[in-house]
């Protein structure tokens, strides 16, 4: 036996064919998701208490004045639908980034303290400091970043190890949650409602004031994450292998954490910590796309679709109008169980 100097053409053909097949499948999945998100977006604009035909909706979006529709669609439904897509995309993308980087499907920002940081800050801002909406958002963004840095700093010892980071995140998160519940226990009835609405994640009463910052953050940060996509895929093979493949592991990790946390923070500031979207999008996207390639865009699209669908269901499917975060939380619970069972049976990562 010896190493053949020339590769057999049949092997090369199989490799090329396999690669093309994967790429085609991936394109198909992404295209389907885009179509679904657009469809969900359109339905959100058309349907509601009053139904507006597609023609009216298009005219409103193009800036024409349509009696009735201009207010309902242009002022109420459009910012809401845009924020649903933007927040969903941000959560999905940031979530899958953390899951890929930490090589654990459970290691989403909801679990490792980042959302808890934003929530605790928002609870304090609303209840204790009685700040207005914009100040609450700013404080939540700052808190999310600070918590992420603290977790990272505490996890650092001869480099950061994923498992240590996750566990420390859980500890910090438990502490912050107790702060939140203390603040809430002291809250007046009105503040409590306001805080609860914020803490569950809701798109009710959203205006462009909240939507635009989140949209801008996504426009800036998504390209940053996408530029790191290849390095992230290499890091899935473990830090040592990634390093051997020419990835500056620590630098990539810092870049990616900062970008993903900012993305989460802006989306959270606008829509609240919508439960489980960051957590679910990655694994769902991974199942759809199959092996190979970056999951950032597919996961973002899945996130957007989840939020659109959950918000629509929350508004119209039940007698009570549930905020979107409750719907995603309840939908997420059984999937979580399934995911943990399946993942741990295989003993692998995402």
């Amino acid at each position: 036996m010896s190493v053949p100097a020339v590769t057999r053409p049949s092997v090369l053909r199989d490799v090329t064919r396999g690669r093309v097949r994967n790429a085609t499948h991936r394109r198909l999945v992404v295209l389907t998701l885009v179509v679904l998100v657009l469809a969900g977006f359109a339905v959100t604009l058309m349907a509601g208490q009053t139904f507006y035909p597609p023609r009216d909706v298009v005219r409103v979006v193009l800036g024409e004045q349509v009696p009735g529709a201009s207010f309902t669609v242009g002022r109420l439904r459009l910012p809401r639908a845009v924020l649903a897509v933007v927040a969903g995309f941000s959560f999905g993308m940031a979530g899958v980034t953390f899951q890929t980087m930490l090589r654990n499907p459970l290691a989403s920002p909801d679990i490792i303290g980042i959302s808890s940081g934003a929530s605790a800050a928002a609870a304090i801002a609303i209840v204790t400091l009685s700040l207005d909406e914009i100040q609450v958002s700013v404080l939540a963004i700052v808190a999310a970043l600070v918590v992420a840095l603290v977790v990272y700093g505490l996890a650092f010892r001869d480099g950061v190890v994923g498992t240590r980071l996750i566990l420390i995140g859980i500890g910090i998160s438990a502490m912050l949650d107790s702060v939140t519940s203390y603040v809430l226990s002291r809250a007046a009835e009105w503040d409590l409602q306001e805080a609860m609405r914020w803490l569950t994640g809701s798109l009710n009463g959203v205006s462009w004031d909240q939507t635009v910052p989140a949209l801008l953050a996504l426009a800036v940060l998504a390209p940053v994450l996408l530029s790191q996509a290849r390095d992230l895929s290499a890091m899935q093979l473990g830090d040592d292998t990634a390093s051997a493949l020419g990835v500056r592991v620590e630098r990539t990790r810092i870049t990616v954490i900062v970008a993903a946390v900012c993305l989460i923070a802006f989306a959270t500031a606008a829509a609240g910590p919508i439960a489980f979207v960051a957590f679910l999008s990655g694994p769902i996207a991974a199942r759809l796309v199959g092996g190979g390639g970056s999951l950032l865009v597919p996961a973002g699209l899945v996130g957007a679709l989840l939020v659109l669908a959950a918000d629509f269901a929350g508004q119209f499917a039940f007698d009570t109008r549930f905020p979107v975060g409750v719907v995603t939380g309840v939908l997420g619970a059984p999937y979580l169980v399934y995911l943990i069972v399946r993942t741990h049976r295989a003993g692998g990562s995402i």
């Binding site: 036996m1 092997v11 090369l12 895929s233 290499a234 493949l245 692998g348």
Partner: protein, 293 residues
């Protein structure tokens, strides 16, 4: 493909936290040959390998590749010349063999460069070399230990480096798979001129497959050279604290180490026993062979 890359370490001191693992070590890897590093547990073998591939920054001294410090080279440039297969690499769940091997092309790709025919050719060649082409569509999870190790080597081959460092590539493999992997690496060295550096646990396999054998003890090089010069009874005693006999391997002609424990030693007629074999060689029941704690 040139094989004349020189990889050397000068006055290298390595450690974790307060602990110094390797101290002031000089080393030169002969180009185009198979170098094997052996040593007792925790003597700094893996640490040395990690540092030579930029994973661990030296406390003092430097690692030079063709005269340039590896820790100052651009990461991807280094990764196109020098590959490393860590001891326990992690495969993401459900990843296919084809995809995993394709990840080895990372250093050859930029942010915007698309996958091209050269990448396909490198992957196909790596699969062919490791005889894993038939597994291409299988999931890595479902492979046997030997197959999996071959796939990981294929990934390192797809990287197309002239130097390949491997940290214990035969751990967890049974005897036949160990031989299979070592044969494969020898093939690579002979047909492509790849310089191979690996850490091995099994002294006899190390002696058989090494062109150049390095024995490490307490973070220093105890001996380095051809296996016949390095694998001696004195070396085994000094490095591993184990008394042994070293004979000529009837299969390969390389040295073969036979450990001398306290039991199951055939009493030999006086005069024929090895001089260094000590009292246990004569089957003496005294506890002089008590290991030093």
């Amino acid at each position: 493909m040139t094989t004349s890359h020189s990889l050397t370490a000068e006055e290298l001191t390595l450690g974790y936290g307060d602990r110094v693992v390797v101290e002031s070590l000089d080393l030169s890897v002969p180009p185009g040959r198979v170098t094997v590093v052996v040593g007792a547990n925790a003597c700094g073998k893996s640490t040395l390998l990690r540092s030579m591939s930029r994973l661990l920054a030296p406390r003092e001294g430097r690692v030079l590749l063709d005269g340039k410090r590896v820790h100052r080279m651009p990461a991807k440039e280094l990764a196109r010349t020098l590959g490393l297969l860590p001891q326990s690499p992690v495969a993401p769940e459900g990843i296919t063999v084809l995809d995993l091997v394709g990840r080895g092309r990372h250093p050859h790709q930029g942010v915007f460069t698309r996958w091209n025919e050269k990448d396909d050719a490198a992957v196909a060649s790596a699969l062919e070399a490791t005889r894993t082409a038939g597994l291409a569509d299988r999931s890595v999870d479902e492979l046997s230990g030997g197959q999996r190790q071959r796939v990981w080597i294929a990934m390192a081959l797809a990287q197309q480096t002239d130097l390949l460092l491997l940290d214990e590539p035969t751990t967890f493999l049974d005897a036949s798979h160990q031989i299979e992997v070592l044969d494969l690496l020898t093939d690579l060295n002979r047909t492509r001129g790849t310089t191979v550096v690996m850490v091995l646990h099994d002294l006899n396999l190390a002696a058989r497959y090494a062109d150049h054998l390095i024995a490490l003890a307490g973070g220093r090089i105890h001996a380095a050279g051809s296996p016949a010069d390095v694998l001696t009874e004195e070396m085994v005693e000094a490095v591993f604290g184990l008394r042994s006999r070293v004979i000529e391997d009837p299969v390969s002609g390389k040295p073969l180490m036979l450990p001398l424990g306290r039991h199951h030693i055939r009493p030999e007629p006086a005069g024929t026993g090895s001089a260094t074999a000590g009292p246990a060689g004569t089957g003496a029941p005294e506890p002089a062979g008590e290991p030093v704690h």
